[in-house]
Symmetry: C2
Subunit: 147 residues, 2 copies
């Protein structure tokens, strides 16, 4: 099933790869429009918080002048880590679509599941394994070439 | 027991309070020196990621031009939430000292314990309830006056 937003997230991940970063991209969508998109910039910015999801959420909030992203969706090529899943909870995002599962750091079911800890007053819908093969290949190719 | 870094974190929390923000402050310390300090700016910046810990970690990393804060300590007036505990894991911070426990969102033992999930290759030492009464009072006074 084709999805334009996940394809934008994959393009963002490819930008990260070109910059020598772990290839992860994220897109925040509200009412069918992209309000934030970003790729991982941890190395370039020397910032452990510069994951794709955090940067996309910050851009979306700046666009809305609001820290609450109620009813928004996030599309991300790799399962969010605890920091990013926590940011998703804090921002009140409603739907999470992710590509590859992360058995080491995934916080949406891959390793732990923060969304099932009843941490927030709102419920979050999670769809894992979206464009999984493509997202996994992007990561596998990167680590094969870089490690 | 007096601790100069926790006292700086409390001063940061008081700045947040003056700005109408939930009063939380954080300080990152390496080799006995403050390399990052910040207070919660969620409302002022319309940014759900602008918690004291995230801002202090970003400042510390900018000062070192390095996203790794191995051997650093963080002092924070409130138990870190999942996002901030995740950022602490990602940044490789070694020691976490926090004031008030957070039974709703605390991710260092208060509600859940991310540091015991074996998510990272490094171990993190946690000291909760440091200057607890003072940190709790700061939060209680704020919520009594604002909600």
């Amino acid at each position: 099933m084709k999805n334009e937003f996940m394809e934008i997230a994959i393009k963002e991940a490819q930008k990260a790869k070109s910059a020598g970063e772990v290839p992860v991209g994220a897109v925040v969508v509200l009412d069918g429009k992209v309000i934030g998109k970003a790729h991982n910039l941890t190395e370039s910015l020397s910032d452990p918080c510069a994951h794709a999801e955090i940067l996309a959420i910050k851009e979306a909030c700046a666009n809305l002048s609001n820290w609450r992203l109620c009813d928004a969706s996030i599309y991300v090529t790799l399962e969010p880590c605890p920091m990013c899943a926590g940011a998703i909870i804090n921002s009140r995002i409603k739907n999470v679509y992710f590509g590859a599962y992360d058995a080491r750091m995934g916080a949406c079911g891959g390793k732990i599941d923060l969304f099932r800890e009843n941490l927030s007053g709102h419920s979050i819908n999670v769809y894992g394994g979206f464009y999984e093969d493509e997202c996994k290949k992007l990561l596998a190719d990167f680590f094969k070439n870089n490690r």
